[in-house]
């Protein structure tokens, strides 16, 4: 047993492939047998992944979900930024440059409206929860954009570390909510074409949430959502600590 555990730790990434493969297999069986195919297997698998992430955090008290347990370290590497971005870029093979160009304007409009909406609704909620200083409300509003925009903004304008942690949590909640709800509402909001996916990616912004949600909705839409969502965090990091912060300072 000890030899096996040792072997697994040494070959973390390979074990990660096996773990995720088994999880997908299990989800596919659940999808077919229990849900009669009404919920796609990938949606169940992503949800179960989140459950594992929760359990990992509950057992270890760490910040990286299940990958804080040493034998599952490879899962964290497999799901890390490098593989995530590399595989997203690979999905561009299935996208058409012509469509991306045609929907470029729609994508830009939705990027801007997304950042403005998320930021200012986040600000209103922070006010409703009793925060009054500009640095805190601005950081929480930025956290409502993504879990990267929050801490970048907070660090730039000097928010307290407690508020920065809160903004990261807000961004992670957003990613989870987008991941779970995208496949559920996709039909109702007509999220079914490349153009719509580009607008959706720009509006929602969280590239991990958008890509995971679209993957569970229709994998063909993933590259279109990802191509706009990827600009969101950068634009958010640009606007929140500057223009938006100045606007807030003038009001409060």
């Amino acid at each position: 047993m000890e030899i096996l555990l040792d072997l697994i730790e040494k070959n973390g990434l390979v074990f990660g492939f096996l773990v995720i493969g088994l999880l997908v297999l299990f989800s596919d069986i659940l999808s077919k047998r229990i849900f009669k195919g009404r919920i796609p297997g990938s949606a169940i698998a992503i949800f179960l992944g989140l459950v594992l992430g929760y359990l990992g955090g509950a057992f270890t008290g760490g910040e990286k979900g299940i990958s804080d347990i040493s034998i599952f370290k490879g899962v964290g590497f497999f799901g890390g930024a490098m593989f995530r971005d590399f595989t997203i870029v690979a999905t561009a093979m299935g996208a058409s440059f012509f469509l991306v160009k045609r929907a470029g304007f729609l994508g830009m409009v939705s990027l801007l409206s997304g950042i403005v909406l998320f930021f200012f609704i986040g600000v209103l909620l922070a006010l409703a929860w009793g925060y009054t200083d500009v640095a805190s409300i601005c950081t929480i509003g930025a956290g409502a954009c993504t879990y990267i925009v929050g801490p970048v903004t907070g660090a730039a304008i000097g928010a307290s570390s407690e508020v920065i942690a809160l903004s990261i949590a807000t961004g992670v909640v957003k990613t989870i909510v987008v991941t779970i709800f995208t496949p559920i509402v996709a039909k109702k909001i007509h999220l079914n074409s490349p153009e719509a996916a580009m607008a959706y990616g720009g509006l929602m912004g969280t590239s991990s949430g958008v890509a995971a949600g679209l993957a569970a909705t229709d994998p063909k839409l993933v590259p279109y959502g990802a191509v706009t969502a990827t600009f969101y965090t950068g634009l958010g990091c640009l606007l929140c600590p500057s223009v938006f912060y100045i606007i807030l300072s003038m009001i409060f």
Partner: protein, 125 residues
């Protein structure tokens, strides 16, 4: 050769990320601005160039195809390594500020698509 496809993908990825980092640096923010997006566009352009010149072999394509199909498993692995515990227990404000704007955007989304879609007004700019 499969590796040609993987290498082409790697080239696009690195060039795109580099552009994103450089753009972030020039605007003066400590973040990557659209690196993945640039990489995707570079890959799409390279693909078109390869097809035009009849250089895109089936094997090259399958080298890239493999990685694009790994996308969903990577997302599952990513979900399993998120800090879900602290996100759920960070308090009601994190839950509200993380979810209410998303719900609002579900309502805004159809309006946006209707008004700015290249199909409905014919002239995107």
């Amino acid at each position: 050769m499969n590796i040609y496809g993987v290498a082409l993908l790697a080239l696009s990825y690195l060039l795109g990320q580099w552009l994103g980092e450089a753009l972030g640096y020039f605007i003066g923010i400590n973040a990557n601005v659209g690196g993945v997006g640039f990489a995707m566009m570079i890959l799409m352009l390279l693909k078109e160039w390869f097809i035009k010149n009849n250089r895109l072999t089936h094997e090259m394509e399958s080298g890239m195809d493999f990685w694009s199909k790994l996308y969903i498993p990577v997302v599952i692995a990513m979900a399993a390594s998120l800090n879900v515990k602290s996100a759920v227990s960070a308090g009601t404000l994190a839950l509200a500020a993380g979810s209410i704007p998303v719900l609002v955007c579900f309502l805004v989304f159809p309006i946006l698509v209707k008004n700015f879609s290249p199909k409905s007004n014919g002239n995107p700019s």
